[in-house]
Symmetry: none
Subunit: 223 residues, 2 copies
DNA sequence: GACTATCATAAGGCATGCCTAAACATTGAG
DNA sequence: CTCAATGTTTAGGCATGCCTTATGATAGTC
């Protein structure tokens, strides 16, 4: 299978929208892992693996024994996917005459291979509907798209050039990091990835070696 | 990723339509492996692996050093996929206003997750167009669907005489089955049906007793 | 007929995404 | 506070689909 668009696989997307829909349905956040497992018909272990991955990538916050909630970033991605699903749902049911339930089934596959560009055209074609065939709201294109992609330094590949978005570290570490010239807004380049997940980065001319604990607390936005 | 519909994965479908398109484009059959490799941007080794798998399943005929050609079965599957692609192409370009080339790109993803049911409704919605946005013919639903009727051995009645169309089994089982003379194309007769759904079959003179697991993976075409 | 370029195949690897089994941690009910 | 139910993790496995490396087979040219 081929990656969709620089980020989320079909499976990952399914996990994200499962959490988003649980919240839509009024479940309290964080959403329990077992609920996700039930919805996706996979085991708890699988959910755990995937959610931890999504947490590392900044799409969700995972609190062991409590559950998952979406980050702003994850919410934006989920909205974007649900928008595509519901737009297809409207098209399939209203224009092609399928039942809402069947339309939703098919839309669930189409959503993962629909670029935003197509979603926008489709929305216009359908007269910018505000609800899907089953009554759920269709997120607007603006909501869905407008969140910059960020990721913790700890998951970046060597060669990445990015800007620091935020630094979230305990006092002692934060002070050190600040002193080294790492501040929100600063530009960095990831020179290398060590065997323990440690990162060698370049910051305005200087070179720093950061352990995983620090790398975890620094979020980047691609440039 | 989940299987599409009782048979072909997205990758397999891409290989099939690559062969079908090569023939459409006037290449002589069998189509060379290197051409497929070029089109799909994969290595020759990968093509070899996949084509041999498709051969074993009865979708293509593979002649070493000569190339691949589609069987009737494979051609029907390819037509069905190309039909879906081109119908989406027409929708995306004519109704949504995308360029034909871009529409084809997107359609190439949509085609793999579009049930025939949707293709039929879409065709009707579009006024049953006969050519895609780039001038290629849209196979008719009838062509595409007229895959010969096949059924798994596991549902046949005693007395049935049929040909094996495909064998889709885990490595270990497949090896056994092949060794017993069961290959796509072979003729068999179902001599008896056991109480657990097991089948007693005759294959060129010999007699075999197959459990339900194996019988499930063997598809037959009536003769 | 020998040779070279292309093709075939075997073997081993990697990533994704799922699984089971088994050991362990936490929570909340009583 | 104890304990059962639930959740977490680690470890090992499997299938798909792709890769590289390396060896063997073939075809068509000279």
């Amino acid at each position: 299978m081929v990656q969709h668009q620089a980020g989320t696989s079909e499976s990952e997307e399914m996990y994200l929208i499962t959490v988003a829909r649980a919240v839509e349905d009024g479940r309290s956040e964080p959403v329990s892992m077992s609920h996700v497992a039930t919805q996706l018909d996979v085991t708890g272990v699988s959910v755990n693996q995937m959610i931890r991955k999504l947490d590392a990538r900044g799409y969700v916050d995972y609190e062991p024994y409590r559950g998952v909630s979406l980050t702003d970033h994850g919410r934006a991605v989920a909205s974007s996917i649900l928008r595509r699903r519901r737009l297809w749902g409207v098209f399939l049911s209203e224009q092609l005459g399928m039942t809402p339930a069947r339309a939703d089934d098919v839309a669930c596959d189409l959503e993962h291979v629909t670029p935003d560009e197509v979603a926008d055209l489709l929305s216009e074609f359908l007269g910018d509907p505000s609800t899907g065939p089953q009554g759920r709201a269709i997120p607007s294109g603006a909501d869905a798209v407008s969140v910059p992609v960020t990721q913790p330094l700890s998951v970046t590949a060597a060669g990445t050039r990015a800007s620091i978005v935020s630094i979230d570290l305990p006092e002692a570490l934060a002070a050190f990091v600040t002193e080294q010239g790492l501040d929100p807004g600063a530009s960095i380049e990831v020179l290398g990835v060590g065997r323990h997940g440690d990162r060698l980065v370049a910051v305005d001319g200087a070179c720093l070696h950061l352990g995983t604990d620090i790398a975890d607390g620094i979020r980047l936005e691609a440039r």
